[in-house]
């Protein structure tokens, strides 16, 4: 009964399952471009990264990329949950620009 009532309420409000998804905070990650050299020129692959939180150790992001001397660029948009002054931190080995 409860389930039927809920469906009924959603129908009255003109909501669809799609809308419910759209209305929850839902990001889709950043675009990650990877390069097989140190200066962002030898483009190797592009993928979507859900976050930037990598510890590759002595490994590499992909088989086609050497474990040393690679570089990456992440682009996209960031949405603030509340207004205010934010501190952004990078933790990297080695170089970084934000």
């Amino acid at each position: 009964m409860l389930g039927i009532a809920l469906v009924y309420l959603m129908a009255c409000a003109g909501l669809t399952a799609n809308d419910a998804v759209a209305q929850t905070a839902g990001g889709n990650g950043l675009k990650g471009q990877y390069y097989d050299n140190q200066n962002l020129t030898a483009h190797e692959l592009t993928r979507t990264d859900p976050t930037v939180s990598f510890s590759w150790g002595t490994g590499s992001p992909a088989r086609s990329i050497d474990s040393d001397t690679f570089s990456a660029r992440w682009t996209g948009q960031v949405e603030a949950p509340v207004s205010g002054t934010y501190t952004f931190y990078t933790q990297t080995s080695d170089g970084v620009r934000l």
Binding site: T48, V52, S55, P81, G84, Y86, F88, G95
Partner: protein
Amino acid sequence: MNGESLISKWVDQNTREWSGRISLEAGKRYPIKMEYFEGTGGAVAKLLWSTPGVEKRVIPRSRLYLPGTPPPIDGERWSDPATWGGELPGEGEAVSIPADKTVVLDTSPPPLKSLQIDGTLVFDERDLTLSADWIMVHGKLQAGSQETPFRHKATISLTGTNRDENVMGMGPKVLGVMGGTLELHGERRLSWTKLGATAAKGSTQITLDEAPGWRAGDRIVISSTDYDPFQTDEATLEAVSGNVVTLDRAQAYTHWGRVQIFDGRSVDERAEVALLSRNVEVEGEEASSADGFGGQIMVMEGGNARLDGVELTRMGQKNILRRYPIHFHMLGDAGAGSYLKNSSLHHTFNRCVTVHGTNRLTLQGNVCYDHLGHGYFLEDGAEHDNLITDNLGLLTRRPADGERLLPTDSSPATFWITNPDNVIRGNVAGGSQGMGFWYALPEHPTGLSANTTIWPRRTPLGEFSGNVAHSNDGDGLHVDGGPNQTTLESETTNYRPRQDPAAGSPPVVARFEGFVGYKNRHRAVWLRGSDHRLVDATLADNGIGATFASWESMLTDSLVVGETANRGSPRSWETRGLDGRSLPRYWDEGFRSGATSSTTAGWGPSGRRSSTSRRTPSARRAGWATTSPTPSASTRRTSLQA
């Protein structure tokens, strides 16, 4: 972050933390870019944030968005009955959205009688069709934005059938923008490119100059590369692999696709290949084709229309004044707030793009294919500082007797330019039953822009550079024959630019730069007036290369080729010559001429083709060097016939 650098430590370092601060507003999305390199040793890359109330943590996926993700739309849903006070609009209803309301179009409504938008209507990111006899925008109608183009399929279909309906003075079957804003931004597609190899008649596969990113199901058109503007081929793509595309039908014509070299200079007669499909579309409903009574977009009274990546088809109303596929009407300098880019306008019934009493508008990267009468149309002669770049026009048709809005539509121009003070750069006029580019200058602006202080025939040339005209029945570039002030009939027109267009001011030179004209049946260039320079021109395979009916004018740094290897597919009436061809016209072997720093090549065989107009050049005024035996004929008319 939002264009600001927070951290810049582009050095080798063991895992280290750096930080930077920035103020952000809740719910807004800011562009972010992080760059990283690994030298040697362990590799670590992390991005975190904190703010009062949010402890330091890796920025979660829920707050990160891929480039191009559209912002959330804030508004009431069309599909919600509460938006409409309890009941959804039904078929045939006249709907209006009041000024204080924003509605998100999240469903395809039943066909409406009409839609008046005083508030805002925004297309949700999904496949949608909006159908109405007419739509009037006083507020805002939007699908996609410049930053985040629409990604699904949006169709606005205009369905009016009552020719007497006049919606607020803008006629029937209109998408009108009166003081409001129209924002239509479709996916960025390659608008047009060129062949990378000659495509033979009968083939179903063509090679392009570049990988176009087009897809199976897309519609394209291939331009003529012969004298006949009708030698176009339309097709739907079945497959795309790199720069090779497979068509759903065999081509009816051969299209040239190879750059040729003469005296170290290239002659590029490769066919243009244009994409007709777009994912955002404004159309007259299918029945429009029967009688040429299509839809129309009209922008006036301070309205703005920004269209990028949009398809307009079955638009314009045949032989009805003011009812064009898209019409920027008397916007003055406020034209700067509007543009039409990377769009396709095809199978239309009354011109293509009308710029009327509007300045500073941008028309860029568009394709006009198959239209009636003048195509890109600067209406009155007062229009100035418009930026008209990288557009393609092809299959400009002559309207039938009795269906011409202007007398000059009997020789329609793909680009009809009534004031020289505009930027015309990188465009292609690729097949007209009349002219390619026609500087048709009235003495003073006509119509609603009538103003006796403006002198188009004496106004300096804004810019004409890098344009191409081919496969035109008339002239590729024609500077003459402006409209008579009262009858609007074409009259002999001298274009004599002056520093200050007021009488008596010293002359200035008009430089027509980098023009390419080929396979123009009548001629590539006709100039009348004074102080013209045809600079860095490439003229090949034309009935006649160039005629200077102008004083103090010359051809400079140019290449004129009689015939190239692009033999084309002559129609039967063109095959009268002894070698099976009648064009290019007969060339007198005794005639050798050049202009300053210019070269000639590829002259046709002597005495084997009939000629109706043999002219010899005069060196006296036009700066020609000639070894012609008898420079007679006209003293001021110089014709370089190829």
